[in-house]
């Protein structure tokens, strides 16, 4: 979303309950529980969120969670879209038959322990103060390098603890832990000479970066 135009005025800072309607709470809990059921892979869930069709994605937040849960569960052969549609129709009073469940093919990825933080034996490639340039990434899969910071030069301001690499983990291709850096960019590097003056800090994984000498 970073830098996309045309979304208009921000919403008001109103106080609101965690869930505006009971089904939203249910969608939230089902999201967390679908992640558990489909291989405990939060990154795969985020990738599923990104694969919700754009119109649906923008329409409603917790509906997006529901649709992502359905994608994740369908991907791993736990529940098919047809099953959910048939059950929903039956709950709405139609006497439609329920299809057979799919053949489960839950992907399996070895886990290096709970959570996402990891410790690496290899030293970090960059140090605080290094100038780094971000990759010209054109992946069709999941990544944590947003479009608006690609091919840009910034400065490492902190070394974070190494983490599971979302770009491989989201596809169940391994935890592949990577060093992670806070990198700061000048707003003019991102948006051109007329940009509002500010700094943008973002956490980026080592494979996204190369040193500028």
């Amino acid at each position: 979303m970073g830098g996309k135009q045309g979304f208009g005025h921000v919403l008001p800072l109103t106080a609101e309950p965690a869930f505006a309607e009971p089904w939203e709470g249910k969608a939230f809990a089902l999201g967390l529980l679908s992640i558990r059921a489909a291989g405990a892979n939060l990154h795969a869930f985020r990738h599923a969120l990104e694969r919700v069709p754009p119109g649906d994605y923008l329409a409603d937040y917790y509906d997006r969670w529901l649709r992502a849960s359905q994608i994740l569960l369908a991907d791993s052969g736990i529940l098919s879209a047809e099953q959910v549609a048939a059950r929903a129709a039956r709950l709405s009073g139609s006497d439609v038959p329920e299809p057979d469940p799919p053949e489960p093919h839950k992907p399996d990825m070895p886990s290096g322990g709970p959570g996402n933080l990891r410790t690496l034996d290899t030293p970090p490639a960059f140090a605080v103060g290094d100038r780094v340039r971000t990759a010209d990434l054109r992946t069709a899969g999941h990544t944590k390098l947003p479009g608006y910071v690609r091919r840009r030069t910034g400065t490492v301001t902190a070394i974070r603890q190494a983490e599971i690499f979302p770009d491989t983990a989201a596809h169940f291709e391994g935890e592949n832990p990577q060093h992670c850096y806070a990198v700061e960019f000048d707003s003019r590097e991102l948006w051109g000479p007329d940009a509002e003056p500010f700094r943008l800090s973002i956490d980026l994984f080592e494979p996204y970066l190369e040193k500028v000498t």
């Binding site: 869930f19 089904w23 249910k26 969120l49 059950r87 933080l117 944590k144 992670c180």
Partner: protein, 196 residues
């Protein structure tokens, strides 16, 4: 795959999904209700407000909080999902921090609860990294030209919380009185703490 689900009311779809998962033994109703109740009642910005009030009154705690947010926040009993690694950003008269997640809706659940609508909305996610001064002014926060802005995009598992400036005129306030001045919005960086 969503075409089949396209025109079904989300409340019905949620019910369908829940009933199928419960039948398969993959989800139980009690766990589901527990998740919902926890984030409705026990986890929210009142937690973060206690952290801020402690930092305002205890300089050593403030040091620990800025050095290792996760550990200092855990001292007050706040930990859990989306709080694996929390970094606290200190606002000063010279520097204003504001937090966003442009990729999804990452947010420090243990201290702030679940994110509000404005934080999840595309308008905030798209614009705060491009024109933060304008967006903050739309929210009602006019920063002087001498205040630098740092926008922090939560793109890894690190979660960010802003330590707002303590308002003037609060000398002698108790931690509890101070916590009442600390809003969710101030801890994301789109507002300042409430002046008494």
């Amino acid at each position: 795959m969503t075409t089949a689900a396209e025109h079904i009311d989300p409340a019905v779809r949620a019910e369908a999904l829940a009933s199928l998962l419960i039948e398969r033994g993959l989800v139980d109703q009690a766990t589901m209700n527990n998740f919902i109740k926890t984030y409705e009642l026990s986890v929210g910005p009142m937690n973060g407000a206690k952290v801020v009030a402690r930092a305002w009154t205890d300089p050593e705690y403030r040091e620990r909080l800025l050095a290792d947010g996760t550990a200092a926040i855990a001292e007050l009993g706040f930990r859990g999902p989306q709080g694996e690694h929390i970094v606290v950003l200190e606002n000063t008269p010279e520097l204003h921090n504001v937090v966003v997640c442009t990729l999804c809706s990452c947010y420090p659940w243990p201290v702030l609860g679940l994110p509000p609508s404005w934080y999840k909305d595309p308008s905030y996610r798209s614009r705060i990294v491009r024109e933060p001064r304008t967006v903050l002014a739309e929210f009602g926060l006019e920063l002087g030209d001498d205040v630098a802005i740092r926008v922090v995009d939560s793109s890894s598992e690190v979660r960010y919380m802003v330590l707002p400036m303590r308002p003037a005129g609060t000398e002698g306030f108790s931690e509890e009185e101070l916590a009442a001045l600390v809003t969710r919005d101030a801890m994301v960086g789109v507002a300042e703490a409430v002046a008494p």
